[in-house]
């Protein structure tokens, strides 16, 4: 009843049960990415980048500047197979043995089908220059393959996408933005291949700046692709040098057809200059510190550029760029275009003294904006890593992921400590990102929490510090890569499967399957299915999708409608937008049961006087019962067989009848009546009970019992025994009938000598039994009946050579046959 009520009131009111005991996952998780086996690591690891496999977000690849191990021809890439909880350094990036850096600038992308990882790198060691590399080994256990011919260029920035639909469906396409000095002044370049997965893809270099830059375009060239083939690229077009930097246009170009439009990347024309490429902002000053200092947070400051496109709407494009306008030096600006880059909004966010911006848009169109900001004033500056999120672009939250001193004695030493890029991506609703930060257990803060893989002192230690691989040595703090995951989606949890127990066939079993959301965002359930049609998850009245809020459960009704008898199982699959577990399978079990027929055993009747002698009969109760736990339907009870006419049933109800568990047909008054028509040792028949053995299908079964009776005339049967054992021969048996009451008249009826023991065996397979006797009257061996009256039976036997005798009196009535006269000596 509970279920019915549940499914008749509005969904949003009743469907969500808040389960207080559910442990809801933290929304933001920060993980230090240095693996445990690299606990000795103290290098400054800067400029991280991350790619998340869109087909399996548990697989994540990340890069950061690290050393290439001596001897190894390949440098490390950090990979995770558990959604970023733990990391392993796999040496798969082509490098040089012992290189101080595994690679120069590097960016990574999975193809959108999740079968390949692509990267653009500046190769460490010979031959140097830009290399575009790939692997289809999703265990990242084999070195990446070089796809192109290397050449000197700068800041490779990769976008990858698998074409879905159309004649090129399945092809991987790559766009690698870079800045190639050989093409100065229009150095903004995109290396493009429209079929990257073949053995030797063809790359073309596309110079995307159709304008007239002065000197060169700036370093940053950022392509981004959308699923419908719109390819955008942003770059700085230098317009002229100024003190400490240059004036530059922030330009966005677009190609409407995968970069294959002729000429490519000229689909967007500036609304003012009519030159290919729309200025987001024109001739804005960009400082270039050409070095770093404590006052600059020990880092280089130059242009900063990030471009992304809404995965749900290729016309919605977001850009972050930096400038150094007077009075607001080195400011990053986040802007949006809703018309494919033709016009741009005012700043959605403006952040001063910030760099290393990254933008990600999730499936709901929510904006994530990641950057690192130098706060405070020297010598009390701090580097803070912020994640800002907004659903509209108007109001923003602010999560500080890391915070460490940039100056002073507690600050990390060295220059270019965090580098000039990081990255964040969205998969589904979730955001995944990487940044670098000082890892100092004393002076660095991680307000959203942090997990360490490297050895360290226990939490709460008086002097917290890192510990080396030997488990003893103190390891100095350094700049490390950090991964973060922001769970905007729910996390499905099904506490248990469904066990119906026994369900009567013909009935419908009902149970509840709780599906819970232990994530930090809403969980949207999209479908359920069952592997066994006898089990069904009831679709709620409002249908799918169903949204479960964090910390709540949805009570699905599951029904079991048996179609047969016996144990049944099913796999119930619940599909949701849980990013890591898109479908959960749970087991459902049930036992489909039916009523169970209970019958009396085979029936054997006492010798009964035949109808030609008199209206004589004998009867025996016959129990037909339901010994099961479900109802049992009896459809018929009939008597058949050779002498069926000798038998009948009394107390028989009309059929069909349904017996409840424990009940009997006729309430226990059912009897089988035996009225033999002929003198015979065995008069046999069979009683058959037809019942519904499978209520689901209506199939019936029959169970039968044997009936056996002896047809006799009025009389008796005598067995002579000694010590309870039949004697082989009685010396003499005589029978006299008495009448006249006190007068004592008598008449000899029978007198035989040397009477041997007789045995009449039973017919196998019948309910009949063997009979032993020495003399019988009114039965098969001596059909002469005894008339009703009183009889004196005298039996003589020889025991030890001496004759001994016994006398027995018995009575015969009108339907009488005394079959158990035993004379024992």
């Amino acid at each position: 009843m509970l279920h019915k009520r549940f499914f008749t009131i509005p969904l949003h009111v009743f469907l969500i049960l808040t389960i207080a005991s559910l442990e809801v996952r933290a929304q933001v998780r920060v993980v230090n990415m240095i693996p445990n086996d690299m606990s000795d690591e103290t290098r400054h690891n800067s400029e991280p980048y991350v790619a998340v496999n869109p087909a399996n977000p548990l697989i994540i690849a990340a890069s950061v500047f690290m050393a290439t191990p001596p001897g190894s021809p390949n440098g490390p890439m950090l990979v995770s197979f558990d959604g970023g909880a733990t990391w392993v350094a796999r040496n798969i990036i082509p490098s040089s043995p012992g290189a101080f850096f595994n690679t120069g600038d590097i960016t990574l992308r999975f193809n959108s089908s999740g079968t390949a990882l692509y990267a653009g790198i500046l190769r460490a060691g010979p031959p140097g220059g830009l290399q575009i590399i790939t692997t289809t080994d999703m265990m990242f256990n084999t070195p990446m393959t070089v796809l192109n011919t290397p050449r000197p260029t700068d800041q490779p920035y990769i976008s990858a996408r698998t074409v879905v639909g159309g004649p090129d469906s399945g092809r991987d396409r790559l766009w690698v933005g870079n800045n190639e000095a050989a093409a100065n002044p229009a150095s903004a370049t995109v290396d493009q291949t429209l079929d990257a997965a073949i053995a030797t893809p063809v790359f073309t270099q596309i110079r995307i700046d159709a304008g007239t830059p002065v000197g060169r375009d700036n370093y940053q060239v950022r392509p981004v692709s959308s699923a419908d083939g719109h390819i955008y690229t942003a770059f700085y077009r230098r317009r002229g040098n100024i003190a400490g930097g240059y004036n530059a246009d922030v330009v966005v170009v677009r190609d409407n057809n995968w970069g294959s439009t002729m000429p490519p990347f000229q689909s967007l024309v500036d609304s003012v200059t009519m030159v290919s490429g729309q200025n987001v902002v024109a001739s804005t000053p960009v400082s270039d510190t050409a070095g770093s200092s404590a006052a600059l947070g020990n880092d280089w400051w130059g242009g900063d550029l990030y471009l992304t496109v809404d995965p749900g709407d290729s016309s919605r494009v977001y850009i972050s760029y930096s400038d150094s306008l007077p009075g607001s030096a080195r400011t990053i600006h986040l802007r949006r275009s809703t018309n494919s880059g033709q016009t741009w909004s005012p700043d959605l966010l403006t952040v001063h003294s910030a760099k290393n911006a990254a933008i990600a848009i999730n499936n709901d169109g929510k904006i994530g904006y990641l950057y690192q900001q130098l706060t405070g004033t020297s010598p009390n500056t701090r580097w803070q890593t912020h994640l800002r999120r907004s659903t509209t672009g108007a109001t923003w939250d602010d999560v500080t992921l890391a915070d460490f001193p940039a100056d002073g004695p507690s600050a990390p030493t060295g220059m270019r400590i965090i580098g000039d890029y990081l990255n964040m991506v969205a998969v589904g609703k979730d955001f995944f990102g990487v940044f670098t930060s000082y890892n100092d257990l004393v002076n660095a803060n991680f307000p959203a929490g942090v997990t360490w893989l490297r050895n360290k002192t226990p939490d709460g230690a008086a002097s917290p510090h890192f510990i080396g691989t030997d488990g003893v040595s103190t390891v100095a703090p350094s700049i490390d890569p950090f991964f973060f995951h922001v769970a905007e989606s729910g996390h499905i949890q099904v506490p248990s499967g469904v066990a119906f127990g026994s369900v009567c066939a013909g009935a419908i079993g009902r149970a509840t399957l709780n599906v819970c959301n232990t994530g930090s965002g809403n969980l949207t359930m999209t479908a359920t299915s069952s592997s066994n049609p006898q089990f069904a998850v009831t679709t709620p009245s409002g249908g799918f999708p169903i949204v479960i809020s964090p910390g709540s459960c949805f009570p699905f009704e599951v029904t079991f409608t048996p179609s047969g008898i016996g144990a049944q199982t099913a796999t119930l699959t619940i599909s949701s937008d849980d990013l890591f577990v898109p479908s959960v399978a749970v087991q459902a079990t049930a036992e489909a049961a039916a009523g169970s027929l209970g019958l009396s055993s085979n029936q054997r009747f006492v010798p009964t006087v035949i109808q030609s002698v008199g209206p004589c009969q004998s009867s025996r109760p016959f129990v037909v019962s339901n010994t099961g736990t479900c109802n049992l339907t009896i459809t018929n009870i009939v008597i058949g067989g050779a002498n069926a006419g000798d038998y009948s049933l009394s107390g028989l109800p009309a059929f069909p009848i349904t017996l409840q568990p424990g009940h009997q047909v006729g309430s226990g008054d059912l009897n089988v009546v035996f009225a033999p028509a002929a003198l015979a040792r065995e008069r046999i028949a069979e009683i058959a009970v037809t019942f519904v053995s499978d209520p689901a299908s209506g199939a019936t079964s029959v169970q039968a019992r044997q009936l056996c009776g002896e047809g006799v005339r009025t009389g008796a049967r005598v067995l002579v025994t000694q010590g309870g054992v039949p004697v082989p021969q009685a010396h003499e048996i005589s029978l006299r009938r008495y009448w006249g009451g006190w007068f004592g008249f008598s008449k000899k009826v029978d007198e035989v000598e040397n009477v041997a023991l007789q045995t009449a065996p039973a017919t196998p397979g019948t309910a009949c039994g063997p009979i032993q006797f020495h003399r019988e009257y009114g039965a098969t061996s001596n059909p002469t009946q005894l008339v009703p009256g009183v009889y004196k039976l005298k039996v003589e036997v020889k025991i030890a050579g001496k004759e001994v005798s016994k006398t027995v009196w018995f009575n015969v009535d009108t339907c009488g046959f005394n079959g158990t006269i035993v004379v024992d000596f």
Binding site: P35, N36, D37, M38, S39, D40, E41, F65, M66, A67, P69, P70, G71, S72, N74, P76, T86, W87, V88, A89, R90, N91, P97, G98, F100, F101, T103, G104, D105, L122, A124, M139, N141, D154, N179, A181, R216, Y219, N241, D288, A290, G291, S292, W300, G302, G414, M415, R416, D420, G468, T469, D470
Partner: protein
């Protein structure tokens, strides 16, 4: 197959013959005398080859250890199991270069070049480098040698490293236009440093050097100016960045390829600036 690999393979073969390391266990006793005779015959040649090959083994290794094979075709946590991976217990670390650390007593995975040559329970010296680091190390085998006295082995490895370091410094000394002992003066940025074309540019700062001795080359007519790369990016992070007043040995390199837009000498490689304490070594190698 390059020369190094060829010599390494010869080493593997010779070692097997010399010490019966992997294969002699199966030799019938009657053959041992023949093997001994063969060893004595080959010994001088084999020894000569072993020395050069040993240096090459060390050159190509980042983690050298003595260990006991635990299982073949298995792997330790976070390392992919392959047909040729073996779990080896690290009994003693002979040389560990970052990021290997000190996993003494722990199990590591070694990706064997020829897995059929070694069996569980065997002890050996493993020359390897790291290919995976997570909860345990994955190591690619460079070569395997029989167990020998650990102190002797450490001395041999140390000597090989010194040989390699001397080779590298010798090459750098030969390439240098001039090698001087001197003191660096105040550096000033060049136009290239003030207005770089790329954030990967070296950012040359020019500084005079007051020379105290010339170890290679002649005193020029004018002052000696050295360009110091002030960039800390991946290309230039290791380039020497001596501060004003710093004394040292400077291997002054010329811009033979004319790739820099400034004149003078350059400090490019980490070996281009050495402490005075290295002077005797420099003089020995420069001859």
């Amino acid at each position: 197959m390059n020369t190094n690999l060829a010599s390494l393979d010869r080493l593997r073969t010779l070692k097997g013959r010399e010490f019966g390391f992997l294969s002699l266990r199966s030799f019938p006793a009657t053959r041992h005398l023949c093997v001994l005779v063969l060893m004595l015959t080959l010994c001088p040649v084999a020894f000569a080859q072993t020395q050069s090959s040993f240096v090459d083994l060390v050159r190509r290794s980042g983690f050298i250890f003595q260990g006991t094979v635990k299982a073949i075709g298995e792997s330790t946590p976070t390392v992919v199991r392959e047909r040729n991976t073996a779990i080896v217990t690290v009994d003693r670390v002979v040389e560990s270069l970052p990021p290997a650390g000190n996993p003494t007593g722990r199990d590591v995975t070694v990706r064997l070049r020829t897995p059929g040559e070694i069996r569980p329970g065997q002890k050996a010296t493993f020359f390897t480098y790291v290919y995976s680091a997570g909860k345990s190390l994955g190591l690619d085998e460079v070569g395997i040698l029989p167990i020998e006295d650990s102190k002797t082995l450490e001395d041999r490895v140390r000597a090989a490293r010194q040989t390699l370091a001397d080779e590298a410094l010798t090459a750098r000394l030969r390439r240098a236009e001039m090698v001087v002992v001197g003191v660096v003066g105040e550096a000033r940025p060049t136009e290239e440093a003030r207005n770089p074309g790329s954030e990967h540019d070296p950012l040359w700062w020019r500084a005079p050097i007051t020379v105290r001795s010339f170890e290679k080359g002649q005193r020029p007519r004018g002052p000696i100016i050295v360009n110091i790369a002030m960039n800390f990016d991946y290309l230039w992070a290791l380039a020497p960045k001596p501060k004003a007043g710093e004394e040292g040995i400077f291997l002054l390199q010329a811009d033979r390829e004319k790739q820099f837009r400034v004149s003078g000498f350059f400090l490019i490689d980490a070996l281009d600036a050495l402490p005075i304490s290295e002077l005797e070594r420099v003089r020995r190698l420069i001859k």
